[in-house]
Symmetry: C3
Subunit: 145 residues, 3 copies
């Protein structure tokens, strides 16, 4: 019979450098952390510590998908929209907060047999919503065995 007391947890923080607006995949960084710690089965949680970017699971096959996502959101939440009063940080800042609210900053993924349970075409992305480059912090937590 398997002992039940083998559960453990680990924490980490990823830093994802961005070069302005767009989707930045970091699936391989997450997988490398799993491999380094020999995590087998459990739950992985990621939390983006910012309010002007998002965490997104999206298709990592055709790059047109990412360009179309960016184009759609740029039309839905246009920079410099006169509806916005919060403009002191630039005309792309409030749209970045809205995009963040429309998507997510948070992600929980089961790990099975040492691998993320992502679908075949799924990748994990930081979606940068500001025009300027940033270093985005993602808090990570694993609990399992």
């Amino acid at each position: 019979m398997e002992p039940k007391s083998t559960l453990r947890q680990e924490s980490h923080e990823f830093t994802i450098p961005t070069r302005g607006r767009g989707l930045y995949e970091f699936t391989s960084e997450v997988s490398a952390w799993i491999a380094r710690n020999s995590f087998k089965n459990g739950l992985l949680t990621l939390h983006l510590r910012h309010t002007s970017a998002s965490l997104l699971v999206q298709e990592n096959a055709d790059p047109d998908v990412r360009r179309d996502l960016e184009r759609f959101f740029a039309r839905l939440v246009p920079d410099g929209d006169p509806i916005f009063m919060h403009t002191v940080e630039g005309e792309d800042d409030m749209p970045a907060h809205v995009r963040s609210a429309l998507t997510a900053v948070n992600l929980s993924l089961p790990v099975r047999d040492g691998r993320l349970t992502l679908g075949t075409w799924q990748g994990i992305y930081v979606w940068e919503h500001r025009r300027a480059p940033h270093a985005r912090k993602v808090a990570a937590h694993f609990i399992g065995e």
Copy 2:
């Protein structure tokens, strides 16, 4: 005094068949898995392994709510929008990716006394965004006692 070493975890995968666009409730499948394993208290996580559908918690009382959600999203993200370049998989594919980004593929729910902590009117749905039928895979994980 309660021993603290009774924590355990289990994994599962649900397959939800869809008949094209719309919301498909699978709350009872999730509750049945909880009952089958006698989970009492803990954390349940669901992850949809696709990028053209969503996981949604929504009202399961008036079916008009689901129809209105569908109608609103069809207007917000119209099929065949000329803004999209990714059209090789059909004019409903890129809108499906956008709808997925606007909602979520991921859900974490506390379990208390053997039951999901859903509100009275909340159900768990796969929201199919493609017109064609699909079999949608949802990875599930429980940790608790």
Copy 3:
């Protein structure tokens, strides 16, 4: 060497009173629960048990950000939109369901050294989408040490 069997879990339910539409921060209530239980490291999960409000992580510095978020969503999902058939609960009810679908009801946050891994400017909010005051229930779960 640290023993590995110190993992434990706790549940709670927050009630957040709202005075109609707008963002209501309850970060300090969550932090107080963590302090009261001496949680050190682990995973905190929050689930809003309603379908006409949201859980949101957003900027807690400039209040204009919250006003702009509200203004943007009021334009994106207008009350009394003739597209909606579900009107029996008031012209602000179906827009509330749509806003809930466009945002999230669910949040998982790592806890490190007794503190939420929120970014410097991040706060946790209930976003009330109905015009009338409500008492919103948020199920909470912690697992860790």
